[in-house]
């Protein structure tokens, strides 16, 4: 079975994605922006890229590349746990308006960018 080899690609990709997310988080703090700016950036960028991969049909046509770039790097770059803890924190601190904007930007923006990425991917693929 070559699933061990694929798991290794996923792991190395996840390592790179996590380091990219950490770097962006450090840069966000260094530029005195709120931490959720960094989370929003990685989640939106990752959502657009996964859409492109779906459009390219990477998962079925290029299994190893999808494991590395899609499951590894994009999965490691984007995060859902941090997003949920930020939602809790914003609600506790009664920053309702920021919370609404953040939710809209994350979920509407994320899904919209996946759709846009998929559309662009289909166009470039054929």
């Amino acid at each position: 079975m070559k699933s061990i080899w694929l798991a290794g690609l996923v792991g190395v990709g996840g390592s790179i994605g996590a380091l990219m997310r950490y770097g962006i988080s450090r840069a966000t703090v260094a530029s005195r922006k709120p931490a959720y700016y960094g989370t929003l950036l990685v989640n939106l960028a990752g959502s657009f890229a996964i859409g492109m991969f779906i459009g390219f049909e990477l998962e079925s046509e290029h299994v190893a590349e999808y494991a590395f770039y899609g499951i590894g790097i994009l999965g490691g770059l984007t995060t859902y746990s941090t997003l949920n803890v930020q939602k809790v924190t914003m609600l506790r601190q009664e920053r309702g308006r920021v919370l609404v904007y953040y939710l809209a930007a994350t979920y509407v923006g994320g899904f919209g960018l996946t759709a846009a990425g998929a559309g662009l991917g289909y166009l470039l693929h054929t």
């Binding site: 792991g11 390592s15 859902y80 809790v88």
Partner: protein, 125 residues
Amino acid sequence: MRIVVGIAFAGFLGAISRYGVGFLFPRADSGDFPWATLFINLSGSLLLGALAGLLIRRRAPVWFGEVAGTGFLGAFTTFSAFNGQLWQMCQQQAYAAASIYALLSMLGGWGLAAAGLAWGRRGAS
């Protein structure tokens, strides 16, 4: 520098764990419900909430928060796969399943992160 190495290693483990959990659930190929990603994102949110609570009480060192939180749980959970699956479910016109998946992810993860935070702040023992 040690934190960077720790995050790289924890990110490796987080992504591998996510990949492994995918094999424990029925394959989400053709319009099937993405149980694996839902489980990953919900459990990761609970654990990161608990970790944040421990960090607030200073019961865990900062480097551990970065390595376990940013490294492992950040790489374990995923937002790109969530949106990718949601898009594919919509493509297959499985709108009811897509709505349930979106709601469970949005509200369930939120509630579990809050529960984890309360648990971590109060102390597990």
